[in-house]
């Protein structure tokens, strides 16, 4: 942005210089700024600083966190589930977004309403539904057994299968909605040209449509991956204590173990990964995310 303001016409630059530092426009931002600094930036920094000061000054918390197989397993679980959820959401989300972009408007509206409804339904209500659906005596197990697909009920709660299903359910709309926007903006003439040049449907998909939709897919995938890394509610309800993920670990350090040093260290790990992935996304796509590309 500094570059942009330098490039402004001269008269505007002079105007800007003549204004007092604390212009009225800046004063109007102060309430929001104070709120964010006092109740967001400062507490988060304070928490992170405790990771190197408690119990004594040093890196002992990070050594404990990265040196224990228990914690490494939690990092692995978090990473594994996030990758899985991202990939499944993309594989399902791409054809759905594609269909939404080209199907008759009226039907697209119906599907869109369902996507929005599922996205806006209370998170706990959705997670509760999956806890009931996936339990040993739940509908899914009963149906599968009734159809003779399985003889024993599948264990789908209190493990990572449940977490993956529940989280994919939550993340799908975050892939479908932006990707729909990206595909809609692709000019159909380009694909017509591909067909006229003799490309088969599969070649058009692989060489034209997928590359054109790729920016939207990468942007959506990065967002879903980052959101999954820090997810708390669904993993703790569907995963159980044996399959903890990073966000639960942070909460547990603070709430049950009252170990602020370790809590701060785990929070820093999560923050560093999250912010670097967002920086990557900003670099690739700018502030507007995938929708502008």
């Amino acid at each position: 942005m500094a570059m942009v303001s330098l490039a402004k016409p001269d008269n505007e630059k002079r105007n800007a210089r003549r204004r007092p530092v604390l212009s009225r426009d800046f004063v109007s931002i102060l309430p929001a700024l104070l709120l964010v600094l006092v109740f967001f930036v400062a507490p988060v920094l304070a928490l992170l600083s405790r990771s190197v000061t408690e119990p004594v000054f040093g890196l002992q918390n990070y050594i404990a966190l990265l040196g224990s197989s228990t914690y490494l397993k939690i990092f692995f679980n978090t990473f594994f589930v996030s990758v899985l959820v991202t990939v499944i959401s993309l594989v399902i989300g791409f054809p759905v977004a594609w269909t939404l972009a080209i199907m008759p408007q009226r039907w697209a509206m119906v599907v869109f309403a369902i996507v929005l409804l599922s996205m806006w339904t209370n998170l706990l209500a959705r997670t509760y539904a999956w806890m009931v659906l996936l339990q040993r005596t739940g509908v899914i197990n009963k149906t599968l057994m009734g159809m003779g697909v399985i003889d024993q009920p599948l264990t789908m709660v209190n493990n990572l299968i449940g977490v993956t299903i529940g989280m994919t359910y939550i993340m799908l709309p975050f892939i479908v909605i932006p990707l729909y926007g990206v595909i809609r903006k692709i000019d159909p003439a380009i694909l017509q040209a591909a067909a006229l040049c003799g490309a088969t449907r599969f070649q058009s998909l692989r060489l034209v449509l997928l590359p054109l939709a790729a920016p939207g897919m990468i942007a959506g995938a990065l967002m879903v991956f980052v959101m999954s890394l820090g997810y708390f509610v669904t993993p703790s309800l569907l995963g159980g204590t044996a399959n903890m993920m990073l966000a639960e670990l942070i909460a547990q350090f603070v709430q049950s173990l009252v170990n602020w040093g370790m809590g701060g260290a785990a929070a820093l790990v999560l923050l560093v990964v999250t912010l670097s992935l967002y920086a990557l996304q900003l670099r690739l796509f700018g502030l507007a995310g995938g929708e502008r590309t």
């Binding site: 304070a46 209370n122 509908v139 997810y231």
Partner: protein
């Protein structure tokens, strides 16, 4: 030709199948919960052996649930008020101001939206423990305000950027005070932005779980905290009833939002 629905041949049916199945996957849990809330089985047998309203009765006659719902509503209203007010004032500065670091500030205001909420929850919990705001309405409101404000600023800066300032200037030239011009000309023109800021702020607070779990005390808890605490004990159908009521609130708000959008276009 892949972007023309009718020349897709067999691919059309493959795509339609995936889409219909996905829509069913997205819709199923919601319908399922609604059906179970009227089912008579304590053990959530589906299809239910018979239909009943007893879970709604249990929900609505339990003062703890009602109190939690009232707390949620009260906090969400206060959060909405401050989120829209602070967001509106800040958006004027962000859109019209010409000071340095404006885009950095904008990015700073958006960070609570992208930061894992559990980090904010733990950080605020530590801070509030120190200054004695834990388990208070003020603590709840501040925590929810931090995550609601980005939505407000996003909606309101968008609306203000689409508003032609010369209309406001014309009112000032015609003798209106700058404040009066803002109140009587600008605000009505950006009412759709104000409205979405309000709805998003309200829903953000009303549905928020993670911050609420950390801010809650035994005497002060919101509806999501109450559901969370109950869920950790058992899967009682009372939660299905509570969830269904929440879904109805969401659907109503979505319909209102859609109607307002349509009204604006017409």
């Amino acid at each position: 030709m892949l972007l023309n629905f009718n020349s897709l041949g067999i691919w059309k049916w493959a795509l339609l199948t995936i889409t219909v199945l996905t829509a069913a996957f997205l819709l199923m849990p919601i319908l399922f919960i609604a059906a179970l809330s009227f089912g008579s089985s304590q053990w959530l047998i589906f299809p239910p052996p018979s239909w009943t309203l007893k879970w709604y009765g249990a929900l609505l006659s339990d003062p703890r649930w009602l109190e939690a719902a009232w707390t949620s509503f009260r906090i969400a209203l206060i959060v909405t008020f401050f989120s829209v007010l602070i967001g509106l004032v800040a958006s004027f500065g962000l859109v019209r101001g010409r000071f340095m670091g404006r885009s950095t500030l904008r990015a700073l205001f958006m960070t609570p939206m992208i930061l894992p909420v559990v980090v904010l929850a733990v950080a605020l919990y530590a801070f509030f423990l120190r200054i004695g705001l834990n388990g208070t309405t003020t603590g709840f409101v501040i925590a929810h305000l931090i995550v609601a404000l980005p939505f407000s600023i996003l909606a309101l800066t968008g609306a203000l950027e689409g508003f032609d300032k010369s209309i406001e200037d014309a009112a000032v030239l015609c003798g209106a005070s700058p404040l009066r011009a803002k109140l009587q000309i600008t605000l009505p023109c950006i009412s759709h932005g104000l409205f979405s800021a309000a709805i998003f702020s309200f829903l953000t607070s009303w549905d928020e779980v993670v911050l609420a779990i950390f801010m809650a005390s035994p005497t002060l808890q919101t509806l999501p905290v109450k559901i969370w605490a109950t869920l950790r004990q058992d899967l009682t159908p009372v939660i299905a009833a509570a969830s269904t009521l929440l879904i109805i609130v969401t659907v109503l708000l979505m319909l209102i939002a859609a109607a307002v959008k349509k009204g604006l276009k017409a």
